[in-house]
């Protein structure tokens, strides 16, 4: 078992019941697993949701994470996306300070990143960007000089490619 820490992406299909998020997060907390991000939303099936976890740990631990998740009664299926061919995305909303002098520069950056400006006020803009974390991080770095006021990130979501949907 390798002991190198790594970011793993795990997707769980869960029953949409009160308390299920509590059960899942309680399991992570009590066993000391480190969640980097967690995103939850409805799945294509009525009454079932998908959770995407990004977990920072080593090989042996991710094996335990998968098994301990699977042990929860309301968890139907657990998939480790790390090694699967998959599409991963994150959405971020970034509020940046702006002035008439800087606005066009910001717009240029936004265009290069194929991001959108979704709100403009006299002294700020809100940028919406989707992509993998690298893309979001790069944009954030470039925006720093303008003055980032607030960031809202959804955390990673992931879906496997092709028809072999787990």
């Amino acid at each position: 078992m390798a002991n190198v820490a790594h970011e793993y992406t795990v997707v769980a299909l869960v029953q949409d019941r009160p308390g299920v998020l509590n059960r899942v997060s309680s399991m992570f907390r009590r066993r000391g697993y480190n969640i980097v991000s967690l995103a939850v939303g409805h799945s294509e099936k009525v009454g079932l949701s998908r959770m995407t976890f990004v977990v920072d740990c080593d090989d042996a631990t991710i094996d335990q994470v998968r098994k301990q998740l699977d042990k929860l009664i309301e968890v139907i299926e657990v998939t480790d996306m790390t090694e699967l061919a998959s599409v991963t995305r994150e959405l971020a909303l970034i509020k940046v300070a702006s002035s008439p002098e800087t606005r066009s520069e910001i717009i240029q950056l936004v265009d290069i990143f194929r991001a959108n400006i979704v709100d403009v006020t006299a002294d700020s803009v809100i940028i919406e960007v989707t992509g993998d974390e690298n893309k979001v991080d790069s944009l954030l770095t470039l925006l720093e000089d303008f003055g980032i006021v607030e960031i809202m990130r959804t955390g990673r979501i992931a879906i496997p490619r092709g028809m072999a949907t787990p």
Binding site: M1, I73, V75, E77
Partner: protein, 564 residues
């Protein structure tokens, strides 16, 4: 049929074959208690403390293999169950606990006796439910029993608001459960069993490590067949004790922190460890980095998450243990490990861990040996936690599966009184001895009233050292004999206490009176408390200090003893 929520609870319990419930009422449970007289088939045993109810249900479950049932009212009643639930969770014991909750409109308002019981018990139950409609009670109870007894067993709690007990709904008991995320007790993968057989067949120094799983899956006869065919010595964990007859030539007893030396050494020297329903607990392995360094581990377990949790394994076989071992038996070679068996004999000779030294003092080890002899290993032995527990594991001989009932994973002091009560209610045909510490006994002795009231025939042996003995032992070894907060100087007179409850009490101060007292207790109808005033500073050996390797065990120092 339209019934109230309370009636639906009782009807559902009847559907599950429940005959005995341990409980104590309160405001939120009044409507349920109100319906109870309509169900004379259900024997409700009124405890004195809800911890007693949960632990009695635990003892009941372990004595029969069936689901134990307890219930309690909202708030403090429910929180008093928590220790018992945590205990059952750690030891994989099937329990269903029902708790009353404040009425639906009051939930979340910090109402009188409101506690977030599903929240509190979430990490100490296998699953739990808050049932918000009477129409959902039967489904929740059906699922609760199913989840509790299948797969790796465990406790399930069902929390029901007071006004749901009075709500009327159509009663239908579902005949199946719909749990898409729960697929227990499946057939183990034959490929993995083949790999396991290959590893076993090339082993030179194999051992079997048998755990609670053998008892839970009723795989004792398969274990025996396997061990005999392949000639593999069987080491039993604390909870695995009684899964393999201790009179058997291949029986090696318990390893680990207070296990017998030869079992620990054999584990350490083994080249293959076949773990059957055991979980490589730290009390067994000692320092993990130095645990059985030259061995391949084969791990059979119903719980996939146990495989690779603490030790890395060569192969894991996930599934029902009985099925797995049945499939393994024809694949293993007729065994022959004469050198290994000789080595183990040598270890036994060189490290005679179970010798009781000759002395006129009243030794706890001697008492346990006598209880075991006089009951001919046929009694159910229930213990508390501490020195007396380890001595019972060492010096009582167990032959039948399920005859040792003890709190392993949680180490719950006070287990000895209610668990013995539950075991006797479950198995009135069995002699039940509770081996108690004077510390643990006082944690739950309130149940003596329950025992007296219901004529529950438990024989208590208090190994009374006036100490929290196990902690005192650690203080002696690791804290320069500084006996801080372990000396009990104000113990009650347990014989008078027995009398106060209308029970028979016997005091024993001399080794010469041990046998007589045990026989007297067994010949006296009803519960008896024998207060054995044992040697106060006796230590449990062998001992592996926490965090040490199991190869570095401390054995009993040889001392010159006065003749008897």
């Amino acid at each position: 049929m339209k019934l109230t929520g309370g009636q639906i609870v009782c009807e559902s319990l009847l559907q599950e074959g429940v005959t005995d419930i341990f409980g104590l009422p309160g405001g939120a449970m009044l409507p349920l208690y109100g319906t109870l007289p309509q169900y004379p088939q259900i024997n409700h045993i009124l405890v004195r403390h809800e911890q007693g109810a949960a632990i009695a249900a635990d003892g009941y479950a372990r004595a029969t293999g069936n689901v134990g049932v307890c219930w309690a009212t909202s708030g403090p009643g429910a929180t008093n169950l928590v220790t018992g639930l945590a205990n059952a969770m750690m030891d994989s014991v099937p329990l269903v606990a029902i708790t009353g909750q404040v009425g639906r409109p009051a939930i979340g308002k910090d109402a009188f006796q409101e506690t977030d019981v599903t929240g509190v018990t979430l990490p100490v139950t296998k699953h739990n439910y808050l049932v918000m409609h009477a129409s959902e009670i039967s489904g929740a109870i059906k699922e609760a029993f199913y989840i509790a007894r299948t797969g790796r067993p465990g406790p399930v709690l069902v929390d029901i608001p007071k006004d749901v007990f009075t709500e009327v709904a159509e009663f239908v008991y579902p005949d199946s459960v719909d749990l898409p995320g729960y697929r227990p007790a499946f057939e183990p993968d034959v490929k993995n069993i083949e790999t396991a057989a290959e590893i076993l067949n090339s082993a030179k120094r194999p051992v079997i490590l048998a755990g609670h799983g053998v008892i839970l899956s009723k795989a004792s006869s398969e274990l025996r067949e396997l061990a005999e065919k392949a000639q593999i010595p069987v080491i039993t964990t604390l909870l695995g004790i009684s899964s393999f007859p201790e009179s058997h030539i291949l029986s090696m007893g318990m390893p680990g922190m207070h296990g017998v030396a030869w079992a620990s050494y054999a584990l350490h020297e083994a080249d293959v460890i076949l773990s059957l329903g055991a979980r490589f607990d730290d009390r067994v392995t000692g320092d993990l980095r130095r645990f059985a360094p030259d061995s391949k581990k084969i791990h059979f377990d119903i719980d996939a998450a146990e495989i690779g949790k603490t030790v890395s394994t060569s192969v894991g076989v996930v599934g029902d243990l009985k099925l797995g071992v049945q499939k393994l038996i024809p694949m293993v070679n007729q065994g022959n490990h004469p050198e290994w068996i000789r080595r183990i004999e040598q270890l036994r000779d060189e490290h005679p861990s179970l010798q009781i030294r000759k002395t006129s003092k009243l030794l706890p080890q001697y008492i346990l040996k006598k209880i075991s002899e006089i009951t001919e290993s046929k009694a159910i032995i229930v213990t508390g936690v501490g020195q007396h527990q380890m001595w019972a594991a060492q010096h009582c001989a167990f032959e039948e599966p399920g005859t040792l009932i003890t709190s392993g994973g949680l180490g719950t002091m006070g287990f000895e009184v209610p668990a013995a009560m539950g075991a006797k209610v479950a198995r009135p045909d069995k002699v039940v001895w509770s081996i108690a510490g004077d510390g643990g006994f006082q944690m739950t002795l309130s149940e003596l009233a329950t025992i007296a009231e219901n004529n529950i025939d438990v024989k208590f042996a208090i190994l009374n050292n006036n100490f929290l003995g196990m902690v005192r032992q650690w203080q002696e070894f690791f804290y320069e004999s500084e006996y801080t907060a372990t000396h009990y100087t104000g113990n009650p007179d347990f014989v008078k206490l027995a009398d106060a409850y209308g029970l028979v009490g016997i005091r024993v101060e001399d080794a010469a009176d041990v046998e007589g007292a045990i026989r007297q207790a067994m010949n006296t109808p009803g519960a008896v408390i024998v207060d054995f005033m044992v040697e106060q500073e006796e230590n449990v050996f062998p001992m592996i200090p926490a965090g040490e390797s199991i190869y570095e065990l401390m054995e009993e120092p040889s001392e010159i003893e006065e003749p008897v």
